[in-house]
Symmetry: C3
Subunit: 116 residues, 3 copies
């Protein structure tokens, strides 16, 4: 069995990011989750965690999860609002036009939704 | 393409309401979202944001979203608990008996769920 | 009609637990919800609310909801992280290996998701 799941973060709260990363890590290490599809969608102020210059202590975990197939989707509306440029974001990020539409699209495609 | 989505708010936190309204605004302005069905369900203490006498600075945005088809569904259990009367609420609101049942009902009908 | 719904809590915040319990109570008392299936999945620090020695004032409500068929599923990864043992948890709890997988599994089975 495998799972399809979208994790959603939006607040500028390091504890929430950490919870999301631990959630994903726990999911991936479960034998039942082999070949699961996992997306994290970040919008609102949470996008700042994915700036190259800011990512800091969470970067190794994010990079490891990405290398295990987790996709990190960042809302471009939020980048615009905060005046961040796509090139300021970690290379592992995918920029999506509208975070909430990405979340709708994924749920429509059968993904479970989890809000840490 | 179009989307069906229910946004859920429950806390008495102005930042969360603002996030929900911006989320909905971003969704509506995306060309792919034409004729989407968008509901916001408010329960718990968040219902106070929809009192006529309180709504304040958020009112113009709420009214504009409503005129664009967004439905604002307010939990009657929460009104009772806080001793608010339906007639104290903004005219654009729909009062639903139980907010969480409205959310279940919408998800059963294929709506995506987003918790800002 | 009846509903299938999973409530998810993860933070060590008593107000969130109380919101979840009131949500479930309101759902159960609605005539349309007869024979609904309701699960609460607790992971992260929220698992501490279900320790025998800690549960305190929320225990009567939890016990009552359980006797009405609500299932309380506690994440074993979170127990391990906090060094709690399954035998320290309330008897009404079910220990699940990974909370987020339980949530995925339930949504895959048609359960609505609500995050108080």
């Amino acid at each position: 069995m495998s799972y399809k799941v979208v994790f959603h973060i939006d607040w500028d709260d390091d504890q929430i990011l950490k919870m999301a990363l631990v959630n994903i890590e726990n999911l991936l290490k479960d034998p039942s989750a082999i070949s699961s599809k996992i997306h994290l969608v970040a919008n609102g102020e949470s996008v700042r965690f994915f700036r190259k210059e800011f990512c800091g202590e969470n970067y190794p975990k994010i990079k490891e999860l990405h290398s295990n197939g987790v996709r990190f989707c960042i809302c471009n509306n939020s980048l615009n609002k905060l005046k961040y440029k796509p090139e300021n974001m970690l290379d592992i990020c995918e920029i999506v036009p509208t975070g909430v539409i990405e979340i709708c699209r994924l749920q429509d495609a059968g993904f479970a939704y989890i809000k840490p």
